[in-house]
Amino acid sequence: MATTTGRLAAPSVRVRGRSFMALIITPEFPMSEWFAALDAQMRGSPELFAGRPMVADLSDAAVAGPDAALVVLDGLEARGLRIVGVEGVDPRVLARTRWERLATSLHGRDLVQPREAPPQPVAAPPPAPSLLIEETVRSGQVIDFESGDVTIVGAVASGAEVIAGGSIHIYGPLRGRAIAGLRTGEAARIFCRRLEAELVGVARLFRTAENWGPELHGKAVQVRCDRQSLRLSLLD
């Protein structure tokens, strides 16, 4: 996985460490079947292994004796795989064979990924960053969109709830509840053309209608976080 390269630069020698990605391959018994499966995989996705540095995990093969490890390595090489190192095998097994120069002291961690090569998944379209609702949100309805912003062209009725991961924009009157910033936190805001809401909230802060003055009622208002408190201000 991680290999270290030295780079010679006269007159001083500079040695830098760098992490690289290598594929780990683990041959298992019965070997004939394992190699058949490998051949099938290589036919199916030839670009998966092409030119990639590979490390052979011989811990299974080595159980069968020192010769088995060497046969396996020959088999991998015959298929054009670029073996740059081995693990799970005593370095003495490889001594005085043509494999003795392979790196054996490898430090690395598995990537948090399925070990099996994924069969090139069709890229799913990224989730829509915003949700547009063109009609009125009725009492008792809940619009819960945690992946982004919510825009509502109609009204949000008393007893309705709008919950958004990001900001909320309401072009009709807001008479119910609006809670923004489930994901974006304090960066989120609520904008409404007419504030008649029961409750507004951003991140973990919220305020009910009795906590803002009549001068904001019925007006175009934005709600945002400002130094750990909720601030409501006129838009016009």
């Binding site: 009725r138 009492s139 008792g140 309805q141 109609g154 009204a155 008393s158 309705a160 008479r175």
Partner: protein
């Protein structure tokens, strides 16, 4: 083409049953064949308001559960040939209704009637959701007060999501029937104004029915108000609403406050419309 209309509100006591009976009768008076279906299983009232309480043998639950045939449960109104009632059961509860059973009943009624008026129970539970489930259009009954308006808003949300039509991607037509409107109190600002209710609910207005003693009297006598006193303002409002349901263009007039002086001067004379 028959139409299934649900009369609904969310809140109780706003006038769903009265309005169902009055609209049904008004449609029948206009020559349409109408059945009014009581979905308020366990708390039935429509039979009383329509004066048929002593003629109930089988009911909606019997038909839904297959214990009776649809024609056995239908009751024809004694005053209007084309007006029918499908009563609810008083001894059962809403759990006795099933979606499949209600659908079969609705299909049977569609084959027979021009209009199927479903009188929904209050609430948003099974009775109310089944009453609206197969509707083609909805009459949302609302009083001009905040709690009723908010409950109606909730019901409109359900009409747009939980009905067969909405689930099929079709729009369900919703119209607002504002009942128990009191012009004097509205003028004094003690009641929500018509414009405010319309602004919040954002659906077209089917009609405005003033709070009136005529409605209560008619209900107690077992008459739909349009039958009992057709000249009363409430009866005229329902008749106009029925004409709008049938697609006629009738302008909605907001009831105005009667001033005492004016009333005194007109006393004994005929009041111009």
């Amino acid at each position: 083409m028959s139409k299934v209309v649900v009369v609904t509100s969310g809140k109780g006591g706003v006038g769903k049953t009265t309005s169902s009976a009055a609209l049904g009768a008004a449609l029948a008076q206009a020559g349409q064949s109408v059945v009014v279906v009581d979905f308020d299983v366990g708390l039935r009232n429509l039979d009383l308001v329509m004066g048929a309480e002593r003629r109930v043998v089988f009911d909606l639950v019997n038909v839904v559960q297959g214990d009776a045939k649809l024609p056995q449960a239908l009751i024809r109104d004694k005053r209007l040939e084309t007006l029918w009632l499908l009563p609810a059961s008083q001894t059962r509860d809403k759990e006795a209704l099933t979606e499949d059973g209600v659908e079969k009943v609705m299909d049977g009624l569609r084959a027979r009637f021009d209009w199927i008026i479903c009188d929904s129970p209050a609430g948003i539970e099974k009775g109310a959701t089944l009453a609206m489930r197969f509707a083609d259009q909805a009459v949302v009954v609302t009083n001009p007060e905040v709690s009723s308006v908010r409950d109606s808003d909730r019901i409109i949300g359900l009409l747009d999501s939980k009905t067969r039509r909405a689930e099929g991607g079709e729009k369900l037509e919703k119209q607002l029937l504002l009942t128990r409107y009191d012009p004097a109190r509205a003028a004094r600002g003690e009641m929500m104004k018509v414009e405010d209710v319309l602004e919040i609910l954002a659906i077209p207005l089917l009609g405005i029915v003033s709070e009136s003693a005529d409605v209560l009297t008619a209900s107690n006598l077992g008459f739909p108000v349009t039958l009992h006193n057709p000249a009363s303002p409430a009866a005229r409002a329902y008749a106009d609403a029925a004409r709008r349901l049938m697609g006629e263009e009738v302008t909605v007039t907001t009831p105005k406050e009667k001033k005492a002086g004016l009333f005194g001067r007109l006393f004994g004379k005929r009041v111009a419309a």
